[in-house]
């Protein structure tokens, strides 16, 4: 792995010639990179230089991401179980049939929908509000931003652990605060009951994700020219009208894309749930990705891959429709 990078740093040893086949990338780029000092760069030469600069990245991503992904995809159509490696025959759609026949799959799908919607809507609303209020300069704004930024530095897994401890039924601080506020009489076994467990993991996720929206939206807001707000104020537009008729339309593209990226990301985000409930109780907090990891750990790579492909299909279809919807709106 280090060899590729060292090669690129080494001064030219001049073996490369223009027009070499792309597969000769090991030798070619060095020569051309070293030799392209004058600005008279031939197209092929430029091509070789481009390839040389890109080669290490492409190599790593192909070997350790794309190869396993593709080989994982074909496992979805095979009988691939670590417990019985003597028979890895092709079974067509059998893995998919097994998943669609499994009632847990539909629970998991419902959970995933709840997880994504229940997380993203509050994240968006709170994040938007914070961004709007942060747009105005005030003393300590920098410090404030740095402080609310901090959930980002923590891994999803650790956030799960933090909240698992806070939602602990006996010694958890959440129950203690609720009791002190007089809202509950007896401790709630948050993570042991289906309904409350889902609420708890979603609360943790909201806490984690608000910052992302706040930061993205704030950046977008700062691109809105002040004159627009000034003009709106002169015209006597109220705050709410300014928000819906000027601010939101102006940052619509950023907003729409941020939401799309976030939906995809939360869909694929098992860490918090993994640490807090492990998918339990009784599969009630399993989302598609935690269920898939679970299946992988049981050694059933065939079914796990099939779940993975289903996720990809869902996300592709969703993204396509979503992008079409925002494009139409823009054209209208």
């Amino acid at each position: 792995m280090t060899r590729t990078t060292i090669d690129l740093e080494r001064p030219s040893s001049g073996t490369g010639a223009p027009g070499e086949r792309p597969s000769d990338r090991a030798g070619a780029p060095r020569g051309s990179l070293g030799g392209s000092g004058r600005r008279r760069v031939f197209t092929t030469r430029k091509g070789v230089a481009i390839l040389g600069f890109l080669a290490p990245a492409i190599l790593f991503v192909s070997v350790f991401i794309y190869y396993p992904m593709i080989s994982g995809s074909q496992m979805a159509f095979r009988n691939w179980n670590l417990t019985n490696l003597t028979d890895t025959s092709w079974v067509g759609l059998k893995n998919f049939e097994a998943i669609f026949a499994n009632p847990v799959f539909y629970t998991v799908l419902g959970n995933t929908l709840l997880w994504v919607l229940g997380s993203i809507v509050p994240q968006l609303v709170i994040g938007f509000a914070i961004a709007l209020w942060l747009r105005r300069r005030f003393r300590f704004r920098g410090v404030y931003q740095a402080l609310i930024f901090f959930p980002w530095a923590i891994s999803g897994f650790l956030i799960g652990i933090l909240f698992r401890w806070m939602f602990n039924s006996e010694f958890g601080v959440v129950n203690d605060l609720l009791a002190k506020a007089g809202l509950i009489d007896s401790p709630i076994p948050w993570l042991a009951e289906p309904g409350t467990a889902m609420t708890a993991v979603i609360i943790a996720n909201i806490w984690y994700g608000v910052t992302f929206f706040a930061i993205m939206i704030l950046a977008a807001l700062q691109s809105v020219p002040d004159e627009l707000f000034e003009a709106a104020a002169l015209d006597g537009a109220g705050k709410v009208r300014t928000l819906f008729q000027i601010t939101i339309p102006y940052i619509r593209t950023t907003l729409a894309l941020t939401i799309l990226l976030r939906v995809i990301w939360i869909f694929n985000f098992p860490d918090i749930i993994w640490a807090m409930t492990g998918g339990g109780p009784a599969n009630q907090t399993h989302i598609v990705t935690t269920w898939m990891i679970n299946t992988t750990q049981r050694g059933d790579y065939g079914q796990a891959s099939a779940i993975g492909l289903i996720v990809v299909a869902i996300l592709l279809v969703f993204s396509a429709f979503y992008l079409m919807a925002i494009r139409e709106k823009r054209d209208a």
Binding site: I65, A233, S319
Partner: protein, 278 residues
């Protein structure tokens, strides 16, 4: 911006922002307080919001009972190595993607972006098999290789945004003066972009430092475990030892928070650069 804010509006704004700050900071406060209580005091009523007796027993126990020193060392080594190499490689590819036009550019960007959207877990099983073939299971070097690959796509996209902000004229001038392209990159562009590159490195480092599922799948022996893998081991049993767990969580979080505090401004720039321009 014209100041149109009325007094009640200002009060609401300050209150909401303050409330969110408290909500944001509280979980960290709570885990820190827990870790500093005496192990017995963690499980006693009523809950105390400040340790009655400050104790480092939970921390000491981590290093005595569990091999926490080893885990920290492993995580440091693996995250530093992977983040350095990944940043270097991503710098090269980001530079090309920011400066040159070529036919497969769009496809390549797409290929990088897609890795961010497909559930990586589909690759978990096959990756394990691949590493078995390469004899790199339960091997730090093997995990470093995978982490490099995982960091590259996003890091490339992020750095590309920074490169796009540096004028071409800069390296063109250097190249007229006889610098090679790679020389111009490292001598002229990199110094200008230093904050962005440091931010990219920190971002990669934190991601590797935090990564769980791959290391859990690949690392078995205690001597090879990273911190998240070890923590995951703490929770597989039914009774979590919250004393050790809280201390371990604090020790894991603090370094990443310090790093992020340094780099947050640039990380934000990098993350928002792509989206906002669109």
């Amino acid at each position: 911006m014209i100041n149109t804010e009325t007094n009640p509006a200002r009060v609401i704004r300050v209150l909401v922002l303050a409330a969110w700050l408290v909500i944001t900071v509280f979980p960290l406060y709570w885990i820190t307080v827990t870790s500093l209580k005496e192990p017995g005091a963690i499980f006693s009523y009523p809950l105390t919001y400040w340790p009655e007796v400050f104790s480092l027993e939970n921390y000491v126990g981590l290093f005595e009972k569990a091999q926490f020193g080893t885990y920290i060392g492993n995580s440091l080594l693996i995250a530093t190595a992977a983040a350095s190499v990944a940043t270097l490689i991503a710098m090269l590819s980001a530079y090309v993607l920011a400066r040159f036009e070529f036919r497969s550019k769009g496809a390549l960007m797409m290929a990088f972006l897609v890795t961010q959207m497909i559930p990586a877990f589909i690759a978990l099983g096959p990756l394990y098999l691949l590493m078995t073939q390469l004899k790199l299971v339960d091997n730090k070097f093997g995990l470093i290789l995978i982490y490099i690959a995982i960091c590259i796509p996003f890091c490339t996209v992020m750095l590309r945004g920074f490169f796009a902000n540096v004028p071409d004229a800069l390296e063109e001038a250097a190249m007229i003066d006889g610098c090679s392209r790679i020389g111009a990159l490292f001598r002229v562009i990199v110094p200008v972009m230093k904050p962005g590159i440091v931010a990219a490195f920190i971002f990669n480092f934190v991601n590797c430092w935090n990564e769980l599922f791959l290391s859990v799948t690949l690392m078995n022996r205690d001597q090879n475990k990273t911190i998240p893998t070890a923590l995951n081991g703490f929770i597989t049993s039914y009774n979590i030892d919250w004393g050790s767990m809280s201390a371990a969580a604090v020790l894991t979080i603090v370094p990443t928070m310090v790093l992020f505090a340094f780099a947050s401004r640039y990380i934000v720039q990098g993350l928002t650069a792509g989206a906002v321009k669109g």
